[in-house]
Amino acid sequence: MKRYFNRELLTYLLFVALALIGIWLLTKSWIPPGYAIAGHDSGLALNAGDFLKTRFFAWDDRIDFGSDNSPHFGSIIMHSFDYIISLLAKVPYAGSQLAVFFWISGIFIFSFIFSFSLKERFGKYFVLLFPIFLTFNFFIFQSIFILERAKYELIFSSLFFLTLAFKIFFNEKSNILKYSIIFSLMIAIFNGGGWFGLPLYGGLFVIAITVLLFFLLQSIKEKQYTKFKQILIFYLLNILFFIFLNAYSIFPYVITFINSDFAKVINQGTINAGYEWLNYISRGSSFLNLFRMQGIPDWYLTGYSANPDHAYASLYLTNIKFVFISFAIPVITLLGLLIPTKEKLEKYTILFFIILLLVSMFFVSGTNSPLGFIYEFLYTRIPGFNIFRSPYYKFAPSYLIAFSFLLSFSLSKIISVVRFNNLLKLFLVFLIIIGWFKYHNLVFNSNDLFTWQPGKSTLVEVPDYVNEFGSYLTNADINGRILVVPSFNSTWRDDSYKWGYWSLSALPSLLVQNANFITNDINIFSGEEGWVNELYKLLLTKDKDNFLKLANRLGVRYVFVKEDYYIDSSKDQKLYFDSINWFSDNGILSLLKKIGPWSLFSIKDANEENLFKLTENVFSIPKAQEYFENQIHNEEFNDGSWVDEKLASDDLKNTFKKIIYPLNCESCQIENLGKHADIPAVRILPNSPLYKIKQQRNDKSIDSAKDDQAKVGAYLGLIMIKFSEVRSMYELKIEKEFIDKGLKDISTYLQAVNDIITKSPEGLTSFYLASRVYETLNPLQRFFRDYVNSTDINFEKSYIKDDILKVLWQSVSLKKLFDPIIKQEDRWNNEKYYDLSRLSNSTYKLLIDTETLPVNSFGEKIKPDSIIIDESSQEFKLENSLDSNRFLTTTSEPIKDNLGVHFNFSNLPDLYKNNGGKILDFPEGTRGCLEGSINNFNNSRMYRFQISSTNDIDNLRLYIKEGTVNLLGNGFLRGDIEVDITAGTDQRAFEYIYAPSLNSDNPQIFLCRRDESIPRTAIIKIKEIFSPIVYAVNDTSSLNNEKALVSFIKINPTKYKIDTIDINSDQVLVFNTRYSGLWKLYSDNGKNLINDHFIVNGYANGWLIKKGNWSNLVLVYEPQVWYERGRIISIGSLLILVILFGKKKND
């Protein structure tokens, strides 16, 4: 007894107890009774018990159309902690004061265990200082606002790993098996919350790699490999035990990873999207900032300036006192290293932590360091490394441990060499700790700690009605989806409430486990979003019939209205509430429950739970046209199930009742020639030694082109590249021989294009080819014509002059080949030509999206006057009116070996509205202007401006002020777009294509002279550039409108039993839940798998069920099966390891 409770140990226990009391008081001061930490991306449930229940299933059917939950099995333990703590705290939510105390105390205790394990080597002061530095610092405190339990768990595990690794290092004989069992159990408990949090293992990975490297180096240096072998065995056993103990979370995730996540991780789009974020996160983590124990991304606006919105960053980065302390920290850390250390193992330990610090700093700094290019390389080239797109947050634990170790070591060394008595030395330690707290004082303020943006905090007082509503839903008999109203903010997709809650996770999903809420939140997929948005639109437009039909189709049976929703526009909120009242007054919605500002309505006649459906009405449409499915409400399309023909099996194709083909507007491609040509950026020029590689790649692109069209494309691409090189060489004044070579190459390629096109003249009528040629040659011609017109040409070498003129001539000749179609530009403004050559010989009708038709000056849609099939007098006639239908339908016409169809529009109006002359002040001077606007402006359209004038054409400038005219404080008018007007070379009016920005609203147009006289002779005409969206529909057989409902039993969110299906024809079984290839449908009680599984309606699961009698159908989500298998292995392994550990202990 005496052995265990000596005076020294009691002192340490007293220290720990005092620290825990301090942490308790601190957390108590942060979180007053009744308040909770919730929201942001904390995942802190408002009902911890209910939320825990959802973690036991691989499929979460509470959110939107359901989502995969298989990476989250590992979080069962973490959410169990949440639940136990909530029970102890006697509150329903997870983010209680006790929870904050638990996790911060955890960091303190594990850091104390680590430092205590090194007491014999590094002294008693080290033991006291290390836990303080590691627990109370900017990194840990910036994470408290969302209580990052997963991160804390891995800090516990990392510290424990180091404790054991150094036990192996210091002891000649270590019980590796025992250590492995302890650590495996430890990391099985504190596992970082599942595989979704895999990047959080970054710090632990760095520590593990550094430990291994360190043991290897030490063994090489000492020529003694025992310890290296021991650590290798420790690693191997840990990996083995880890896999067995975590089989319940690893197995299901591996299945999901192979099935879908792997493709996402290695997807170049994901990597590119994350790259911007990587640079953004790395902006403040320079080595200097890391030496100062700073570098937290939120602190910095740019690499060098403080973020003024951050609660305390400005003070720490600009106040000289704080800046001094931040520099004193690394200086003290380095100074301690200068105090001699005699013990060899101590030296090795210090070296280890220096290496760990250096390796960690490299990773933490991401792309912001001289070595950032290596991180960039790892990020872009190493498959899977892109999960570390937030390097600071993922690798900081190892950096923090290393830094805290070296700082504690230095200070304890300095204290130990000071000639004070023990009491004074202890007092010095006390002063250091007080000083440390004083330095971090600002982060202890609860207002600042939980505020993540001005006015936004995660510390909220949850109103009583929230929990009351949760209880009501838990006990209510809710079957079917609940539409959340108002919809989420379409930009941020956040769920935000007037009482302070803000999160990207929908609040209801953290509140109840037995209800399925649906909204346009961040979880929704693109294929699902169109349907949900359409439902909201129908609600707002009070289109009750279509609302009911769509709600029924989506399985929405309830509407949840939250009047406390924080919405930017009160106008939008009012529209929603007006609609709800209207639907309620008209008997479509009936109130089930109202608690405070929250109400639940049921939808009239939505009696069936439309989770499963059998249908014969299968329609085919390409995936890219999914919007058509949810926008069309014409009767004949209402009950259809949509599939993509490309993904359909032959059997499924035989069931198609309608086949929908999108038609391409060919003539629309030549309406905006050369306006948006992108000249490729040049990195390697012909004078580079690396140019040969580039040239080889260029040549390969031509060789690999399979047909003439591909070859033309390749040549045109190369012309752009060569032109870009020549232009850059002119700017950089590179030797003429290289420029000449470039010009000669362009000439060769132009000749090759010319040869191919003239060889097969059918290409000359191709709008696509014409647009490609013009897009390529227009910028080239502009550049060389400008050069030829400049005086520089006089000083040019004659052979280069000849080559330029040759290129210009060839480009002019090539463009002239397309004159027959290009020179009819005016015709194509009024006539739209659609290609029908892809359609097989059959009867088709056309559907025209009225949203894409032009409008007249009154805002009315303009219908085509005639729709004539190419080379015949055959004509499609419009069948329905513009008033009530989104899509215009034509008669059905046979199409046989036809090339295309012509849509003729006449009377397209001039949309320019003249508001008269004005004299306005611009920064360049006072100008006389014509002011005008665009009638029925639509910022998603483009407009063609035609400007002509008998007198002023070369003396005019066009200003477009998007949004309302805003005279700034200086009084000058500035255009968002400013264009100098020049007379066209062929005496045509000056043309400008205006593509409005997304936020433009009723732009004002000013056409100004360069003096104060009004340009009265100027004429402006504005016409809309439009490209109607048209579909051809082939009705292959008549529809069957009999509804065949399927009765089923839901065992749990991952398993359904379906009653016998007896059908006379092949039909599609639709499971109205997000598609996943891991949903498996078996017949005969799980014996036979039904293989023909595909996406229906852009998001749901569909199976082709052949005619006949199908009994005992079972639908399972496969990762759940693997979870259950893994769970047996995990429990078995746990028992074996515990027995083994007990046996070892007894030995």
């Binding site: 080595f287 200097l288 030496f291 690499g303 520099f327 690394p330 220096i354």
Partner: protein, 119 residues
Amino acid sequence: MTKKFNLLLDKFLINITNWVIANKYRIVGFIALVIFTISFSFLPYLNLVFTNSLVLFLIISLFFIIFHIGWKIILYISIAFLLIAFILTITGFTPMATVLGDFTYGFLIIIAIKYFILI
């Protein structure tokens, strides 16, 4: 006073001369490497990688390596760099201070290697 100063200067010059003689090959090698590094940094394309600060860092590192500078002296230099970085930070020359931070990191790598060799 002047005589004493002259004597000190003489002693210093003798020490310098002795050091130069003892390290003549190293000095020549160092100068050659410095010239090579600087020339290298002017080459097209390579000048994108070999920035001024990297060249300076390489030269200092070469000096430490060629002349066998002890890890403690490098540590003192690192501390001095941090103190200079502090002054630069408070006077608003943060980018320059950041470069010194990068140098300190590089020096710590050299220190770690030398420390390891000497254990």
